[in-house]
């Protein structure tokens, strides 16, 4: 009995370490004085100061954020409408739609990125922030759909009927009953799609115009141009912190 307890404990910590040790090292070394990747020689915040002074960081950060926001709005709007229609009206082809929605999530991202690029080239659409948004949305709509639909299962149309019997018309029912009740699912999907878009590198890299960077793409250009540097560590830490922050806010909202 004791032995199994011990084993489970060790197992748990090994798992945690595998997940978080690399991230911890990266964050730690972002405060490293020397360029060494192996030895921590002294604490400094210089890397962060040079990061703050890099205007390109701010531009790409700004790009990442506004693109993610637009993607969230499009994905939630379309994903919500589809999920609601499927759950509420239970149409015949719903299993086919479920499968169609799952495929973009399971196929490798590099293939998604390539198909997008080919798609835009064939249609002669010049690459722009809009093509990035279309690319992200095409794969974030299914994500929003799946998250919202999971929350919707068991949603009882009696709530809407109850509102109707109390004198609410369709619009009042939508805004006072249906949407507020779906809000937890909508928020969960919004944060997930935001983080997916914000984190995305491959699709953005393939569909972006020259000279336009999001934060992960900027990180890559920095790496490929100058090799590994300490402010790259700092930049990574910055990106991670933003992602964690969003996940934390999402958790807090869901707890409410």
């Amino acid at each position: 009995m004791k032995l199994t307890d011990l084993f489970l404990k060790v197992y748990f910590y090994i798992m945690l370490a595998l997940v978080y040790f690399p991230i911890a090292i990266l964050i730690l070394f972002s405060f490293n004085e020397s360029r060494s990747k192996l030895a921590f020689t002294g604490f400094t915040i210089e890397n962060y100061i040079s990061l703050i002074n890099d205007r390109a960081v701010w531009v790409s950060f700004y790009n990442s954020i506004w693109i993610a926001i637009v993607v969230v709005i499009i994905s939630i709007f379309l994903g919500l409408m589809l999920a609601y229609a499927i759950v509420r009206y239970n149409p015949k082809g719903k299993d086919i739609i479920d499968t169609l929605m799952l495929i973009p999530i399971i196929i490798p991202e590099i293939i998604e990125a390539l198909t997008l690029l080919v798609f835009f080239l064939i249609l002669g659409i010049p690459l722009s922030p809009a093509t990035i948004i279309i690319g992200h949305a095409a794969f974030d709509i299914p994500l929003a759909y799946i998250i919202i639909k999971a929350r919707l299962v068991g949603y009882d149309p009696q709530y809407e009927e109850a509102a109707r019997t109390l004198g609410a018309d369709e619009i009042q029912t939508l805004f006072r009953v249906t949407l507020p009740m779906l809000m937890p699912g909508i928020l969960a999907a919004a944060f997930m799609t935001f983080v997916w878009s914000y984190d995305d590198f491959i699709k953005t890299f393939f569909t972006k115009p020259i000279g336009f960077n999001t934060l992960p793409v900027y990180l890559w250009t920095k790496l490929s141009r100058r090799g590994f540097s300490l402010d790259v560590n700092a930049l990574c830490t910055f990106i991670i912190v933003i992602s964690i922050l969003f996940t934390y806010i999402r958790m807090k909202i869901i707890q409410e």
Binding site: A162, T165, L166
Partner: protein
């Protein structure tokens, strides 16, 4: 001329090939507690939803207080409804739930406050305004759902099996409460249930439905004592006995064994295949042939069940090999028969109800849809 709270006339509703409601006509009086009773899938809920406007009838007319509302959408009919799963809004507290209908009617907020307070007193939940829905017990949620539907002072309150989810004890208590609240607010109640006990206890009148068709509309005692057909006779009450045969006229009924029983005359059933329906408590049971009682059969006790306030016998007779007899426990010295005893069971002319024979009485049907 009586003004009815609710009238539905020749209403029919189909779901695909299934006729859920078949040419139903009902007139429900003001302040009446009216129940729609029937097995699941009999069309009672669909009928209620048609009154609410949540379903549109294929044919027929719905009137509320004399006004044709057949084509009026739900939110413009002044109705209250308590749903099977209550459907209290989980994102609102008790106050906002009850205030919902009043806000839709643009009642000023200070009046809403007054009316919510008053209705919570009527349903015996004073001071519950700020509670959240998930903090309430099943019975309390029940009362909030009632309050929410009643506070708008509807022309009629529709209740769709609202007690189904409650424990037996709370259900029995809520039945009495529903009746009290109905008298206190003086609103017409239409109550849908498959539980005959609920319908019998609370209703002024009830309609028994089967396969979308109304079988009988009458007060509870009449439904019990003068059932319109074999279905109603079997569906209502704890048990019923049927003796099959042919009605010969002149108050004489002949079983297939050739035994003659006396019944009340019904000229419409002469020479037709019929049954005599007799409630188990209408029999007398004795160890010697009784005198002065027109109908008697000899039989053997198969099973004796002592139930406290009564004794239940299963008697094997040449005519029906499982006659159910309830004998009230009226005296500590009364004779209790044991299995194997030979007995005589007898009944008066009035105890038997002559009904047309039906091949199949299905007390359960497959629900059309939930």
């Amino acid at each position: 001329m009586t003004r009815y709270a609710v009238e539905i006339e020749n209403v029919t509703k189909r779901f695909g090939k299934v006729v859920a409601v078949n040419n139903v006509t009902l007139r429900i009086k003001e302040n009446e507690f009216f129940s729609l009773l029937g097995p699941s899938g009999c069309g009672k809920t669909t009928t209620l939803r048609i009154i609410a406007g949540l379903e549109t009838p294929d044919t027929g007319v719905v009137r509320l207080r004399g006004v044709d509302v057949t084509n009026v959408p739900t939110h413009k009919r002044n109705i209250g409804m308590v749903f099977q799963h209550l459907a209290l809004f989980p994102h609102m507290n008790v106050y906002d739930n009850i205030a919902f209908g009043l806000r839709m009617r643009h009642v000023p907020e200070n009046e809403i406050k007054e009316r919510v307070k008053r209705i919570l007193e009527i349903v015996r939940l004073p001071g519950f305004e700020s509670r959240r829905i998930n903090q309430l017990s099943g019975g309390q949620q029940q009362r909030v759902a009632l309050a929410r539907a009643l506070v708008i002072e509807p022309d009629v309150l529709l209740l769709d099996e609202p007690l189904g989810a409650l424990d037996l004890k709370i259900r029995q208590h809520m039945m009495v409460e529903l009746k009290r609240i109905q008298r206190e607010v003086g609103t017409t109640f239409i109550y849908v249930t498959h539980d005959q006990n609920e319908a019998m206890v609370m209703s002024d009148r009830l309609a028994v439905m089967r396969n979308g068709v109304i079988q009988q509309v009458a007060p509870p005692h009449e439904i019990y004592m003068k059932p319109a057909n074999m279905f109603v006779a079997s569906f209502i009450g704890e048990a019923i006995n049927f003796f099959e045969g042919v009605y010969k006229g002149n108050g004489e009924f002949e079983t297939k064994e050739g035994v003659i029983f006396k019944v009340a005359d019904d000229p419409q059933l002469i020479n037709k295949k019929t049954v005599i329906a007799i409630r188990p408590e209408r029999f007398q049971i004795s160890d010697k042939p009784p005198e002065g009682i027109p109908n008697t059969i000899k039989g053997t006790i198969e099973i004796t069940v002592f139930k406290g306030s009564s004794i239940e016998y299963r008697v094997k007779t040449p005519i029906n090999d499982n006659v159910i007899v309830f004998v009230p426990n009226i005296s500590p010295t009364m004779k209790i028969f044991n299995p194997g005893d030979t007995v005589y069971i007898s009944w008066s002319v009035e105890a038997g109800v002559l009904l047309p024979y039906e091949e199949k009485i299905e007390l359960e049907t497959i629900p059309v849809r939930r």
